[in-house]
Every structure is written in C-alpha cells, then in structure tokens.
Symmetry: C2
Subunit: 433 residues, 2 copies
C-alpha cells in the first residue's frame, strides 16, 4: 500500500500518543489508536506516527516534545485519572510552560457527577479539576476527567481520557468540531466492499486505477473473505469531494459488478445478506459442521435478525447430520462427512426440516488433525439450497483451525448472497465470482 505522505502533502498532520502501562504490557489492545486514527483520516488529517508510552514523566515528556516538533496536532489519550500515577496533564503543562490551576466549572461538574450517583468523591478526585492555565476545557459527560486543548506556537495538544466510553463521545462532541474548523480542505471517502473475489485478483483488477491515482486515491484492504476498496478525495468542500469520488465508484461498480455487496460504511457482509433476505421476505437457516455455530453467530450479530433467522443447527457428529438433517447413512459411508454430496443433503435437509427459504450447510476439515492426502486440512464444502436448487462449492482454505473456520463463514455468507440474487432477483454473476 502506498504511504499516505504523498497523498496529503498539504494537509495538517496529527500524531497520536496513547499513555498507559496496560498498553505497554499488552494487557489491552490499543483500540483508542485505531478509533482516533480512523476519525482523523476521515477529517482529512494525515497521521504519520502513533506512540505508546507509560505513565512516566521523563519518557512522556520526551515523546511529547518529539511529537510537537514534527506534527501540527498531538492527541494524547489516557493518564487523566485521579491517582498519582496519572500525569499526562501535569507533563503536558510542564512541557508547554503552563501553570496548573483549579478550574471551578470542572470542580462543580465532578461534584454533580458524584451527587447524581449518590456517591462521595474521594480527595484525589479534585485533582481532575486542576487544569493548565489558558486551556480549552472539554466537558466529560461520561466520567470525571475533563478533556483539555492546549494551543502552543508549535502544535495544538488535545488531551483525552483513556476509557473508550469517555474518549469517544468527547471526541465526537468537542474534538471533531474543533478539528473541522482548523482545516480548509475536506476529505471524503467511500468504501466499495467486495465479496467472492480473492485479494490478489481484486488487486489485479484495480491495478491500473491505483497506478494512475491522484485525486481521488484508491486503496485495497483485505479482510477475511472480503476486499474493501476505499476511494478518497480531497477538495475545498464536501460536495466537490463527493463529485470526484462518484465516477471512480462507478468504474469499480463496472468492474466488480454483483460482487460488490455494499458501498455503505456501516454495512457488514452479514447485514447485506440479512437485508437481502428481508427485502425478498425470505427466512434463512444454517446447518454447520466444522464452523460449529460461527456462521449463525455472525448472522445473529445483526440487530433485528429475528425476522430472517429462526433456527440453526450445529451437526458436528455424523449421527446429528442424519437425525436432524436427514443426511443418508449411505451418503456418509460412500462419500464421507466432508463431501459435496453430504453438504448438499445437509442443506436440503435443513430447508425441509426447518421450513426455511434459504438453507446453507458447511462441512469441512478445520484441523489440525483429520486431514488426509485426498481430503487435506482446509477442504470445505458449502451448499446453499434455494427454490429447490442446491449449489455446492468446494473451497481450500489455509491457516490455523480458527482461520479456516472464519474463512468458511465468510464464503458461506457470500454464497448465500449470490444464490439469493441469482434465484430471487434474477441477477447474473460475472467472471469475478
């Protein structure tokens, strides 16, 4: 992937510093960095560096000075707590040469926060109302640590509380408007989400567009069983940026056709399948062997799925495949549990037994044991039964047990989507499928 430097030469830079020993110890994953980075990218800010450092004045001060020397905006998260260990605010104030003073509105907010909950603040809670002179104060509706913006000659510092439940609402409410006012350029992007096409093939299909890109730019992101293609443009206003994006998205639609399942940011593959079933008034059932419930669990991720998904089974044992799905004993004996024929009978059986319009079945060898020369680990059959017709596909996935099962789930969702489109919406699939 091309580095973002070349793309956004003229934009403001932002740099992230996440403060916390839990991050340095690997006890928690740094979701704040991902959240802040994605939001900043969406605002058209270029981010070239992210740093994690502990609650240590010397090291934090060192990192902060470096960041202020090379970036226009520095966002710090964490270390605003009430204990002595928390020293982000104190260190930032020292680096910027500001005094700390009691901020009366923040003191009152802390008082109110505890009163509402019928609790009494401890002595150290008042520390959170002591803020650097001349700071812009960001109200925290979900905790006791106010956010702080310090504007200096070299950079703007934005200090946010560490808990995501406090950081995210504060960012949306107070930081987004602040940052938006700083930039004259607007950056917009749209993501074209593709399923049923491998990453390398998808990359080949857009290589000429990527090679020739200026504004908008294109980047591909491989997800398990999916490829996301993000088109990004910058302009003086949103309308102009979207005008630049539109023809590129159209070109991608020409190339990827029905393998595009959405161009909406918030739509997942399982949601696309659920929406498609809902639009056609269809119910879905799943009969899973090696995926063991993962496919159903993905569908049930979608809020309001109950209109579409009523019943599913995990038939891990052969006996279960026979009893619950009516797979023939002779089929299992002749072809084995991991076979085209078994997948077919599982899907057909599920459709009949659970009276569903769409039935999908997955059977495969997830490993690490159980593979043979003929049927290696990673071999998976997925069948989808709709309108009396069963489509069965063979897949060969790689990776560990979990990865193979995850890949099978994505492939099953893609196959379901394809079969519903082909049989209900009379859509044809191109060579990309």
């Amino acid at each position: 992937m091309a580095d973002i430097a070349e793309r956004n030469e003229e934009n403001m830079n932002v740099e992230l510093i996440c403060v916390g020993t839990e991050l340095l110890l690997g006890s928690i994953v740094n979701t704040n960095a991902a959240y802040l980075a994605e939001k900043c990218a969406g605002l058209g800010l270029s981010c070239y560096f992210q740093t994690v450092v502990g609650d240590n004045e010397e090291r934090l001060s060192q990192v902060l000075k470096t960041a202020m020397g090379r970036s226009d905006i520095v966002i710090l998260s964490g270390g605003l707590g009430p204990t002595e260990d928390d020293l982000t605010k104190e260190t930032a104030a020292k680096v910027c040469g500001r005094e700390l003073k009691l901020h009366e509105p923040s003191r009152q907010a802390i008082e109110a926060f505890f009163a509402e909950r019928g609790m009494t603040p401890t002595d150290n809670n008042w520390k959170q109302a002591v803020l650097p002179e001349g700071a812009l104060v960001l109200v925290n509706h979900n905790g006791t640590a106010p956010g702080v913006i310090l504007e200096t000659e070299s950079a703007k510092l934005i200090l946010l509380p560490g808990p995501p439940g406090e950081l995210q609402p504060m960012f949306e409410e107070s930081v987004v408007p602040y940052l938006a006012a700083l930039t004259s350029q607007v950056i917009c992007s749209q993501t074209v989400k593709v399923c049923g096409i491998g990453e390398s093939k998808a990359e080949t299909m857009v290589k000429d567009l990527i090679d020739g890109q200026t504004n908008p730019t294109i980047a591909t992101y491989a997800k398990t069983g999916e490829v996301h293609i993000r088109v990004t443009a910058n302009a003086g206003d949103r309308k102009t940026a979207m005008k630049l994006i539109k023809p590129m998205v159209k070109e991608l639609k020409n190339r990827f056709g029905n393998n595009i399942y959405t161009t909406e940011e918030d739509t997942t593959l399982e949601k696309a399948v659920a929406d498609l079933a809902l639009a056609n008034g269809l119910t879905i059932t799943c009969a899973e062997s090696c995926t063991g419930g993962m496919l159903s669990a993905r569908l049930v991720n979608v809020p309001g799925i109950s209109e579409v998904y009523k019943t599913g089974v995990v038939t891990y044992a052969n006996k279960a495949k026979r009893r619950l799905l009516g797979v023939k004993k002779s089929t299992l004996q002749k072809y084995g549990a991991v076979s085209e024929k078994t997948a077919e009978e599982m899907a057909k059986g599920a459709a009949v037994m659970f009276k569903a319009d769409v039935a999908v079945a997955v059977t495969g060898i997830a490993g690490p044991e159980g593979g043979t020369a003929d049927k290696p680990v990673g071999l998976v059959y997925i069948a989808c039964h709709v309108k009396g017709k069963t489509t069965v596909r063979e897949y060969r996935f790689s990776g560990n047990r979990y990865k193979i099962r995850e890949s099978a789930v994505s492939a099953a969702l893609a196959l379901m989507r394809e079969c519903i489109l082909v049989y209900y919406s009379k859509v044809t699939f191109g060579k990309g499928e």
Copy 2:
C-alpha cells in the same frame, strides 16, 4: 497502575515498531503490538515505547534510529511483503549499514511454498528472499516472508512479518528461544486463570499480595468473563524462579479454590470444559438463543471436540424453542422467552432431544432494541442441565450487542464447568462463585 520502570530496572529493554499504513489510518487494530508486548513482558523484558509508522523510508529510518538509541532490542513488524511499498528490511539494512543479498535457502523455501499450493510465484516474490548480510534468518512456515535478526552494537533488531498468522508462530518458534538466551536472569511466570468471579472482586482478593509484592510479582488481567492472575519471578535459573512462584500459586489456589480452571498457559476456558467432559466421559449440547451459535463455536474451537460435542441448536425464534427443544407454549406466554423458566425448559429439552449428558441453554436480550424496564438489554438467563438437575442463573451484562453475547458465552462455559464439577466430581464451590 505503577509504571513498569521501577519494577524491572535491571532488565533488558525492548521497543516495538509496527509498520503499516492500515494502522495509521485506523483500518485495523494493532493486535501485533498487544501480542508482542504481552510476550515480551512474560519474558521479563521491559517495554517503554511502542511506535506505529507507515511504509516510508525517511520516517521509518528516523523512528528506528531513535529506538536503537534507547532500547536494547527493537522488534519491527510488517513491511516485509513482496511489493515495492514494503521497505522495512531495506530501511533496516540501510540504517545498519548492511548490503542486501539473495539468501538461497529462503529462495528455495519460497519456491517450495508455492509448489505445495500448486501456484506460481510472481516476479516480486523473490524480493522476499533478498536479506541483509550477516542476518539470522527465521523460517516462515506460514507465508513467504522470512523473519530477520540483525545484531548491531547499539541494539538487536528483530524483523517479523505483519500478518498475525505468520508473526505469532515465528515468534514462538524462533524469537522466544533467541530472547531467552540473551538474558542472564531467567524470568518465569505462571498464570492462574479464574472464572466465575468478577474483576473487581478478584482484585480485592489479591490486593494484599499485590501491595506486598517484590519477587514474585503478581498482576491481574481482566478478560471477558475471566480474570487471569500472572505470577512472575526472576532468578539465576529456571528452577529457582519456579521455586519462588510455587508458594504464591499455592496461596492463590487457597483463595480462589475451584474457580481456578487452569494454571496452564495454553488452556482456554472452552478447553477446560472440554477436558472435564472428556475426563468424565460426558457429551455436551448447547441450545442458544441470543448468543446465536457463539457458544457452540467456542467449544468447536477446541481440536478433537467431536468426542464431547455432537449436536447443538440455535433456537432464535420461539417456534424453534418449542419445536426443537419442547419448550411449552404456556411457558413462553406466561414468562416470556427471556426467563428462568424458558432457560430451564430449553436445557432440559436439549438434554432429552439430543441425548446429551450436559445441556446448556442461553436466552437473553442482546439489544440494542428489545429491552424493557422489567427486562432490560443485557439480561440473560443461562441454564445447565446435568444428571436430572437444572441450575439456572440470572446475569446482567453491559456493553454493546456483541459484548453482551460474548459475556454470556463465557458465563455459560463457567456454569457448565461448575455444574460438571459439582454433580460429577462432587466438588463444592466456595463463596467466590
């Protein structure tokens, strides 16, 4: 939490540099940093800085030089791919003043990797066999990018591929032994894994031990529905370190009793449940509503689960609860689908229908819609039926739809474990349960 500096003054420092534009854009969460940080902490290495930087020679080189100036070991991940954008290896070689040369064994490994998969390497794949002179080469069994160790006077550089499926096995196989050999002090740790006790309660139960800690040290890590307590000691040799750990683990066993499900690093809660069922010759079935297959999927994570787990159902709709599990219509009408009584009948029904020794049922309100004042989002009932007895518990989880379902799955595993222990192994549970 206290900064780690004070704890490990004499240990070697390690610093992490994760390379990737996807990280800077927030498209992916930096799980590599968490993985590497946790592993390094386990090896007794102190980590004071983590940096994320893009695929850009100038900035990567700047970050790398800073890291080499302040840390003994620098681990880089990402940017070892076959494309022109990938330049971690090239930049590291330049910073260290090393030439790049074709490494014949790596070339052969790439050839074999493609041959095994019946694929043809593209021209740029050979780039991955071009390595810095004098490097230690780490074999990649799961991809085409070999890892590289470069020893310089100021620091040791360890370059690893970015995909976690390649990075993690390479770290375990090659980097752990390398790092272990570097330190004269041996650091050993043992993790005591607890389920069925909340994080804050577990912390209170070990607070005196944490306050008084020197060697061994204790740290608690909250996972969904579990708490892991890691006891770490350092000494001149492994035997002495383990001797220091032993009495502390014994003390934790006294305090947490049967809520400890394992002290083995690789044992997950689902594996503990599977092992317990296997040891007692029991079969397990799951009847899931709000979790929608997640519980079965967790159990099916365990390789070789087929001895224990044969059948499961996802009965999302009321009709499915009635048809597949025999839940009474009157029960659903009188108490609702999310009730103690429904959970009980689901578990009993599953045990009978699928002839399992242990049947667990989950029904709840995962949200975001569907909550009422009486039955708010997060309310979940879990029932476990064993030996003709059904235990039902009420839970109130918080978080989003996914988090609530994930918490329910962990609670169901903990309850299954408890019921098997109580009814089959005649074990009693203390006040901690």
